[in-house]
Amino acid sequence: MTQSVVVQVGQCGNQVGCRFWDLALREHAHVNKKGLYDEALSSFFRNVDSRKGDETACGVGGRILHLKARAVLVDMEEGVVNEILQGPLREVFDSTQLLTDVSGSGNNWAVGHMMYGSAYREQIVEKLRRAAEHCDCLQCFFLIHSMGGGTGSGLGTRVLSLLEEEFPEVCRIVTSIYPSVEDDVITSPYNSVLAMRELTEHADCVLPVENQSLVDIVSKIQHMSHGGKPGQTIKRDSSIISGQGGLSGAEKPFDAMNNIVANLLLNITSSARFEGSLNMDLNEIAMNLVPFPRLHYLVPSLTPLYTLADVSVPTRRLDQMFSDAFSKDHQLIRADPKHSLYLACALMVRGNVQVSDLRRNIERLRLSLPFVSWNQEGWKTGLCSVPPVGHSHSLLALANNTCVKPTFMELRERFTKLYRKKAHLHHYLHVEGMEQSCFSEAITSLSSLIEEYHHLDASKGRLMHDAPRLSICR
């Protein structure tokens, strides 16, 4: 089995990360009845014997003594990380995994990326190295951050390029929270576009998540639980926004939304942690879903959002789960993949679902989903036998789809509105290492990315003839 390291940067990154660790522990507690430190746990946790003083790590197979998360927490303010360290998850992290400063990045990408990036380069690399050394076989780095602020966006993308430099063979999967249109940070378009360039160049896969979609999903679930029809009560603790059963006590404001992202990460790693009849390794995700290096933005969707209290699960409901995965209400960005072009699609199923169910649903759905001509059978599937807590089965769909184009175009528009008037630019240009060309290069990168998606879109619906085959002379 392989291990993964989570790197959480900035306020949002750390809050989401915190929810991830909480839910991960809950999930493992649910499954691991014997208290043994098994392969599944070791993919995200170390087992240390702190009695021995020097924290020697224990191998797989023994009893769980003291679990430590394989994580690096970075923030340029202390507030969030301190809260984590004072909360119930404090035992899971130790001080060597943390990197904090006091003054924050002021919502300025340049401060995060250039100033702190240079100042803390050595320390960051050292902490990453240490986390990597604790791993027997490190397969993947998960980076969690937001795009709109200064630390997550700026320093986070600096960390990303450090990961590429120092660990070029390790897969980099980035979960990026994109700001809503009504974001209260005025400079978020700048920060996002500057960060986008880094993501396009240095990440292996990006899972974009939009705040607005999370808000919509949360309100949909809450609407169901408060005003639902009779006979349709939601089973307790079964929604993807619920954090009940974890270590943390009362729910804080963004917890519901962050739980969704945490569940995304749990599902994507489920096949790497637990057994199944058709395993999907993390390196297989990049291999199968990224046909061209820059087009690595994979739209996630999670179903079901909640489990209804009545227990019976007829096949129709299972099929409904597959259909929902492609509806625009379940996507984690504001997009409609069904009406755009699919380049590739991965389905990770958890729970008691058979290969025959999977194949049947794919056959059923592929007729209504437009796939690019050279990848008509572009489906990658995985089956994990362990379902998430509170559900009997679940599905995560990752779509490499041109429906990200409108999101990027909107981002470009917001950027251009500000940039045209040179609003707030001086705050950025004051930072050492930052120049106007950074901006122009970033927007060029985004434009050419949009162009690539546009080019693919243009082929949609056109009857593409098979490429003429090589002919052999005899």
Binding site: C137, D281, E284, M287, P291, E377, K380, A467, L470
Partner: protein
Amino acid sequence: MSVVTVQLGQCGNQVGQELFGVLRGDAEEGQRKTYRTASWERFFRQTAHGDVVARAVLIDMEPKVINHSMAKAATSGRWKYGDASHFSQKQGSGNNWANGYCVHGPRHREVVEELVRREVECCDRLAGLMAMMSVAGGTGSGVGTYVTQCLRDVYPKSFILNHLTWPYGTGEVIVQNYNSVLTLAHLYQLSDAILVHENDTVHRICSQLLNIKHISFSDVNRVIAHQLGSVLQPALTADSHGVYSRNPLGELVSTLACHPEYKLLSVCTIPQMPSSSIAYSTFSWPGLLKHLRQMLISNSKMEEGIDWQVRPPVGSERTRSLTGASFNTSLANLLILRGKDVFSADTGGFEDPALYTSWLSSKEALNLWKCPVPFNKYEKSATLVSNSQALLRPLDNMVGKAWNMFASRAYIHQYIKFGISEEDFLDSFTSLEQVIASYSQLC
């Protein structure tokens, strides 16, 4: 003479484990002693402790499947794998042929060669090597191709048979067609003969002949094991002078793969039915052989849905086309009969020159092996190993899809990352188009 098997990747290891189970079980069931001895000698050896160990080496880039296969073998109580005869790593090949062929293969070359060498040294005489793998993933295909290359270097005079499992057409892995094309093109230069099973075909056998409702990979693998076992178990051949052949791989290769451009072999076995029904069924050789012959010429891989309209062309009708007549021309055939009354079975239908190309006389093109011992509970069974156009359409589909994807250069960067260039892809495509052209023009 003994065969050493190398099992590569998840598929190779799972199918291999089922195969040894079938071979062991078949020989044990109160059969004649000479048959049992020959089979055991061919595939198993005895350790100092008295354990019966398969002559096999298990290779995979991640440990789960090997552990599972070894455990499953040991629970049978009748045989097991050698305790040290396996090699695995922690992280798989990520469905990437280039990762398997360029990185993992060379990295672990010495260990693998050593393991094979140890197994070969335990053989009194080596009949040949068999490599079992799939073509869709990264390890079986990539590492498997590299290992075949090493075996060819280390044992230049031995026969090497590759058993390949081709994936479902609708795919489990998006890049399976690339992996398949690269594998087949390389193996064509290295292997003596390539024996193919297609998941789609075997799946149909499971659902329509064996009536299995929820088909799992174990079911599929067991059918493959049954068919492969019926080819590999001892038999009396034309050259073996009344005893069980001591050179099974050599005879198979020399009779069937008689031309370097024609190495693809397909298998079909008749009858195949749910084990609960076998006891209640009786078979006659004329009935079985008639069906099998029609299965051959109409290219039907199982005894249901056979197109009886297809007939061998008469003289001037012979056409050369890929999509034209549904008649399946053979280059050479190997018919293996096992069970009761084999010596009285009339195989004249297979000697019809109309079935074959004009290069070989039908006497040379048809080879017959017989064994009076029933195989795997079937009172009578017939297996046909065929070098014919049977695999032409699936091969053409596979190359066509891969070529379409290659035309857009999709996913190519993933392969280039590990050392395969566009040139290598083009070379592989060219080789396979050559193979396709050769087979289409058989008449």
